[in-house]
């Protein structure tokens, strides 16, 4: 069985790779491209630790095939910061201690960034429902929500709103 040659854009960079038909995007990111920031927590789309952004929408990379990335634009946790400047969501996660073990953190940050790209003024309830697909066992979500709401405020201020 021959491999598929995929050309795509990941974290702003053109990328090419070979993969088999059944390899998930998560497998490709972690095992072929060395981008181990996205995590495997369940392989069934229930935990969100593998969250990436594809053409503007968050998806579970464990439920996407690597071949499907052809021609698409993909952002993983490694693409959220701008060089060594952290995204406001990342900065606020640190300030609010919104992580303990840190395993769910990449998926949560990607999902939260997408939330704020979509809506800079979510209510706490809207943010909780948006993030319901990101399981966290350590924090109880309290500081996560505080970080997200604070990041939203910072981003609104920066946008002059």
């Amino acid at each position: 069985m021959s491999k598929h040659h995929v050309t795509t854009t990941i974290n702003g960079e053109p990328m090419e790779y070979l993969c088999e038909g059944q390899q998930t995007m998560l497998d490709v990111l972690r095992d072929e491209l060395g981008l181990t920031g996205s995590k495997e927590g369940c392989s069934s789309g229930d935990c969100g630790a593998c969250t990436i952004i594809v053409d503007g929408n968050i998806v579970c990379s464990c439920l996407m095939l690597g071949v499907e990335a052809e021609g698409r634009t993909i952002t993983s946790i490694e693409g959220i910061a701008n060089g060594d400047t952290l995204h406001p969501v990342q900065q606020k996660f640190l300030e609010h201690a919104a992580l303990q073990c840190g395993f769910c953190t990449p998926g949560l940050i990607v999902a939260a960034k997408a939330l704020l790209d979509n809506n800079l003024n979510p209510t706490e309830e809207e943010a909780r429902y948006w993030l319901a697909g990101n399981l966290c066992r350590c924090t109880g979500y309290d500081k996560v929500l505080r970080a997200v709401m604070d990041a939203a405020a910072v981003m609104r201020a920066a946008a002059g709103r």
Binding site: G37, S43, C47, L99, C101, G102, C138, G140, Y141
Partner: protein, 762 residues
């Protein structure tokens, strides 16, 4: 030097950003599955589909012949660990049992029990190879439930377990491995004195710790037997010790490197994969990586036990409890060792009972061997006791908080298990609960409020730490504890405080087994306590060295040097007038003043302070569906001294959320063949973000004088009260008392329907 005066502290008690934080928010941090080695193979495990079966034979020939397969192992590849060698140092696990849990020998004892493993050049080939391994089973009757396992004629898991703790010693083997008993006073007299006696039975199901990171490791064994293990665990020294015993290797030949760990909560205080990866690597001559799937985590790693808790309380009309009795039966799973003893002790430890009796049974059954889960044993015991306290309060018509104020433990109280309390903060948690706005907030229709308390001993034990002053005056502290919740930040904070330097100048490192002295595992809420003592003592020793080096530089006596605010000063005008010397100056000149500036300390910490908590929970019930919504939650806990308050709050909030899941939605569901039906996060339901409100925390600080900064362990107590707090709130909202966890919507709806019929009949 005493650091117990909070006002004098500059670093401890603040909230700096954790030093491993940037790596964790950018995806750079390396967890168990994030590493590769050249030539690496992938390992996979073949597991028993039967809950109880004799393994008659395993044929691995076809698997070995599959191109890409480099090694196949079964139980026969492992040495037998005898009872005499079942313990390594002071580590708690029974290695005879653990070695048979890691891979089955003559029997598969639960669905998911590992029976063989392969290493191959890709995951796909390894999976294919598993299907080619032929295992011949003789299926045996299995037993899943406690009372069935205790009954005469129950299927027997082991023929060499004879119940300890009962007289006369039994001659027939049993599924009950032990009976434990603690007594105080005269229980019968106590009940006779009571004006009212209530007796209730509570039941729980197994629940998993639910860490989001599945177990993972990468092990490389070279031809001369030297081995490197990369794995995420709650203790690299535990990984090294347990693996060495299970595979029969010398401890010095194993270097265990701690990866970042994606949650443990007790579930990663033992090994599952490392010994298997070791054998596969040894046989194949290549590094072997093994990562569990989520399904394997559920089928084959240890949950907290399901249990039966029977509580009997007797009290005077004025609320003074005269007698308290609890009988606990815990599932141990396939091997002995549930935390039933802790359940017995902790449930009653919150109170001053003049007469008490608690008895616990450890019951084997064909389920995965249970593993520690955050205050192991205590949450279950307290679900029973704290629910029953509420039922007693109701029967006496006394406010639940008042009943606890009347009977709560104080300094000087002797607990039922024999310990006399000194310097405890339980009463303060009750006072703080009284003072909350939460307690007075009005409630609406179908809403109710419940409170519950809890206790956990916390632990001390062995820790090592090294503090080094670098040539530029920055400081490195190496300690041996995997960081589950931010502990490395706390270690650096304590060192910075002792040295008198900014937090940013101190970098903590979690060392591997070759880089730092022995340290017991991260668990038992011990790291800030015992690790904290070690780093503090090491930093204090470094201060002495720094003073001595200043003395050399100034050519005065070391007694004439004092250390303040990160600098050496002459102690008084008579010592001489010298400019103060900071760490950078002294560090830079270390070679000329005596050599490297460094201290390593090993401690076996004692005097850990126990932790007490009181929680307040508001719920709203949808009477038509039985759905329970958590409206508001306040967790109050005596934390001794919060080294990094955000991380203490985080422990409280995380434990509360696990408790809410345990209360409302989490359970293991098995079919009639003993196969788990919900081994995934879809149907094993842990709380999601939209299920939870913000969780308020109140940190009461009654400093523990046995810790330099007054810290107590904080991580485990938070899981002890929530289930009863929720049950008590549901009762307040509906009048329905649920005694079987989880308190899922169908159960509540059925109880509401039954209540409606009863009321209609009246």
């Amino acid at each position: 030097m005493s650091y117990l005066d909070k006002a004098a502290l500059k670093v401890v008690g603040t909230r700096p950003i954790r030093p491993d934080g940037v790596d964790k928010v950018t995806g750079r941090a390396n967890f168990g599955a994030d590493t590769v080695m050249p030539g690496m193979l992938w390992g996979k495990i073949k597991r028993s589909p039967h809950a109880h079966a004799r393994v008659l034979g395993i044929n691995t020939a076809k698997a070995l012949a599959l191109p890409g397969v480099r090694a196949v192992i079964t139980g026969a590849d492992f040495p037998i660990v005898t009872a005499e060698h079942a313990h390594v140092g002071a580590a708690p696990a029974n290695l005879r049992d653990l070695s048979r849990n890691v891979i089955a020998r003559d029997k598969a004892l639960y669905e998911g029990h590992a029976v063989a493993a392969v290493a191959a050049t890709s995951q796909a080939v390894a999976e294919q190879a598993l299907d080619l391994i032929e295992v011949e089973y003789q299926v045996l009757p299995h037993v899943m439930e406690i009372e069935a396992a205790m009954a005469d004629g129950a299927p027997l898991l082991h023929d060499d377990i004879f119940t300890t703790g009962i007289e006369p010693r039994p001659t027939k083997p049993s599924n009950v491995s032990k009976v434990v008993r603690f007594a105080k006073g005269d229980i019968e007299a106590g009940f006779r004195e009571a004006d009212i006696v209530i007796e209730r039975r509570y039941t729980t199901k197994p629940v998993h710790q639910g860490y989001i990171e599945p177990h993972a490791c990468l092990v490389s064994v070279s031809a001369d037997g030297q081995c490197t293990i990369w794995s995420s665990s709650q203790g690299q020294f535990m990984v090294r010790a347990y693996t060495s015993r299970i595979v029969g290797a010398d401890i010095a030949n194993i270097r265990a490197i701690p990866a970042e760990i994606g949650g443990g909560f007790g579930g990663k205080t033992i090994v599952y994969l490392e010994p298997l990866a070791y054998m596969l690597s040894k046989k194949s001559g290549r590094p072997v990586k093994m990562v569990m799937t989520r399904e394997e985590v559920f089928r084959a790693t240890g949950p907290a036990p399901g249990a039966i808790v029977e509580v009997k309380l007797g009290a005077k009309k004025d609320g003074h409890i005269t007698a308290a009795q609890s009988i606990l039966k815990y599932q141990a799973g396939a091997f002995q060792g549930s935390p039933v003893q802790q359940g017995c002790i902790c449930g009653l430890a919150v109170y001053d009972f003049p007469n008490a009796l608690t008895i616990g049974y450890d019951v084997l059954c064909n389920r995965p061997k249970v593993a520690a889960y955050r205050a192991p044993g205590a949450p279950i015991g307290s679900f029973g006791v704290e629910s029953c306290m509420d039922e007693l309060a109701d029967a006496l018509n006394i406010e639940p908080l008042k009943l606890r104020e009347i009977n709560g433990a104080k300094d000087g109280t002797k607990a039922a298990h024999g310990v006399t309390w000194v310097n405890i903060g339980y009463q303060k948690t009750l006072e703080a609960a009284r003072a909350t706005a939460h307690l007075k907030a009005p409630l609406g229709p179908n809403q109710g409020r419940g409170i519950a308390s809890g206790y956990w001993h916390n632990a001390g034990g062995e820790s090592s730490a090294a503090v080094h002053v670098n040539e530029d005056g920055t400081v490195t502290v190496t300690e041996g504890h995997p960081d589950i919740g931010g502990s490395r930040a706390s270690m650096a904070m304590m060192v910075a405080e002792v040295l008198g330097v900014p937090f940013e100048n101190v970098r903590p490192v979690v060392g591997d087994t070759a880089s730092i002295g022995f340290s017991a595992s991260t668990g038992g809420s011990r790291v800030t306590f015992a690790g904290g003592i070690a780093v503090t003592q090491a930093a204090q020793k470094v201060v002495e060295v720094l003073k001595q080096r200043a003395a050399v530089i100034w050519d005065i006596s070391p007694d004439a040097v004092e250390w303040r605010d990160g600098k050496a000063f002459p102690a008084g005008a008579n010592a001489g007038s010298f400019e103060p010397l900071d760490l950078a100056t002294i560090g830079n000149r270390s070679a000329r003043t005596g050599g490297p500036i460094s201290a390593e300390v090993q401690v076996n910490a004692q005097g850990q302070g126990p932790g007490f908590a009181t929680h307040i929970c508001d719920v709203e019930v949808d009477r038509e569906t039985g759905h329970v919504k958590i409206l508001r939650y306040t967790a109050i806990q005596d934390v001794g001294r919060a080294i990094h308050p955000s991380y203490v709050e985080g422990q409280m909030q995380g434990g509360v959320t696990q408790g809410i899941g345990w209360a409302l939605s989490e359970e293991y569901i098995y079919d009639k063949d003993g196969r788990m039906e919900n081994p995934g996060f879809l149907d094993y339901r842990i709380p999601v973000a939209s299920d939870m409100p913000m969780i308020d925390t109140v940190m009461v600080e009654v400093p523990n004088p046995r810790h330099p900064f007054g810290a107590r362990g904080v991580g485990e107590v938070p899981l002890v009260p929530p289930m009863a707090a929720v049950a008590n709130a549901i009762c307040a909202a509906t009048g329905i008392r649920l005694r079987d966890l989880p308190m899922s919507p169908p159960k509540l709806r059925a109880a509401l329907d039954e209540q409606a019929l009863r009321l209609a009949a009246e």
